[in-house]
Symmetry: C2
């Protein structure tokens, strides 16, 4: 299948590499391909520049968001939460209309420790806050901005290395959660997930459930910091 | 040990019954014992009146919040999130000073569907919102209100029937999370949890981690609605 992965960060690269390995035709989208390839330094999270990944995967095309989405049957958005609605709304209508878009971003707002009234310390500073939170979600904002697109929230309750390689924990015996208002779009996301190796996929129902999925980010981070390692989450019943 | 369970709701009854079964001396606290025993109807969640539980457990004393906390070495607060800070702040200082208080409430604010801009439908109406959320937590509010008390957030990431009977899922092989600023208080909570049957207890560190624990409530509810049953959550690594 022709799949656009929008975004060039660490999570997007996990999907890009794994989907290519699974035989899909992946087109990576970025704001400005020249600028993306010109960067030579790691980002603030220590992720190496995309040019390294690009050089290691010579078959994977890098285009603008618009070109990538336009060429694809299914779109995965790894655009960070602070920019996703604006960047996706700016695309020509036909690039996304009628398509399934899987969003996995957390709508983080990064904060300086000295600007926060009650900081929650982390090794890299303080826990970001979420916007939107509780009574709305990034996924719903995207859906409202793109009424002709079938938005699915998925992947976000595990790290993207884990999403694309579930077998790393408990032989793949843990749980992936999805939500969305369109059953066919959720089925398409489910097919990708089964190809990644997921066997336990729980459909949480309407896209409003993305609120809970995004808000879980703080707990996931806290567990990761406590364990000092990645992990999987299994719903036992 | 003398343990006060503050609150007479369904969750509080789970702890009351189980701790009594485990040989502890449990004193239940409520705002007004006479009023609590006078109620004859189920509450809005369908929980039978406390008088039924009281009659079935004739050895378990029911007193005021103040009397119960005053008599106890350790306090479990099952006071609902909307009233916990006010109710606990109103107690005489010596009732809680120096003691471990385990809080497991979610700070729900219940909403009428027609007053909500973007309702997240549930079988009983709409998902409540949380207050505080994201940049503060109920547990931290309680800690700020009671600086001489050692507040631990625990139990909240599983339902209280599951907390008190972890063996119901995967033979007890799933995960309990705790957070708090006092190591001794977390150790005391951990002892109770091991007596309940928990073997995998992850300490998330400072009480600020309660933000993530409380915010997980929405995801937990969504999973429960999707599965139509209670469940356990296991961190696999």
């Amino acid at each position: 299948m022709k799949i656009a992965v929008l975004g060039t960060g660490a999570g997007a690269r996990c999907h890009t590499a794994r989907l290519t390995e699974l035989g899909h035709h992946v087109i990576v989208g970025t704001r400005n391909p020249e600028a993306t390839l010109a960067r030579t330094e790691p980002d603030m999270m220590g992720t190496p520049p995309y040019r390294d990944f690009h050089a290691a995967h010579p078959g994977i095309e890098l285009h603008t968001f618009s070109e990538a989405a336009d060429a694809a049957e299914l779109v995965i958005s790894g655009i960070d939460g602070a920019h996703a609605v604006q960047a996706l709304s700016a695309l020509p209508r036909q690039a996304l209309a009628g398509k399934t878009l899987v969003d996995y971003a957390v709508p983080y707002v990064y904060q300086q420790p000295d600007q926060v009234e009650r900081p929650w310390p982390t090794p890299w500073g303080v826990m970001p806050r979420l916007d939107p939170v509780d009574t709305d979600s990034l996924a719903e904002q995207i859906q409202r901005a793109l009424p002709e697109t079938k938005v699915v929230k998925a992947f976000v309750t595990q790290e993207q290395e884990t999403v694309t390689h579930p077998e790393e924990f408990a032989g793949g015996d843990h749980t992936m959660l999805v939500a969305g208002d369109d059953a066919d779009a959720k089925a398409a996301a489910g097919e990708l997930l089964r190809a990644y190796g997921w066997r336990d996929i729980v459909d949480l129902g309407p896209l409003a459930a993305a609120r809970g999925m995004e808000m879980y980010a703080h707990l996931h981070t806290a567990i990761g910091l406590a364990l000092g390692t990645r992990f999987g989450v299994k719903i036992v019943r």
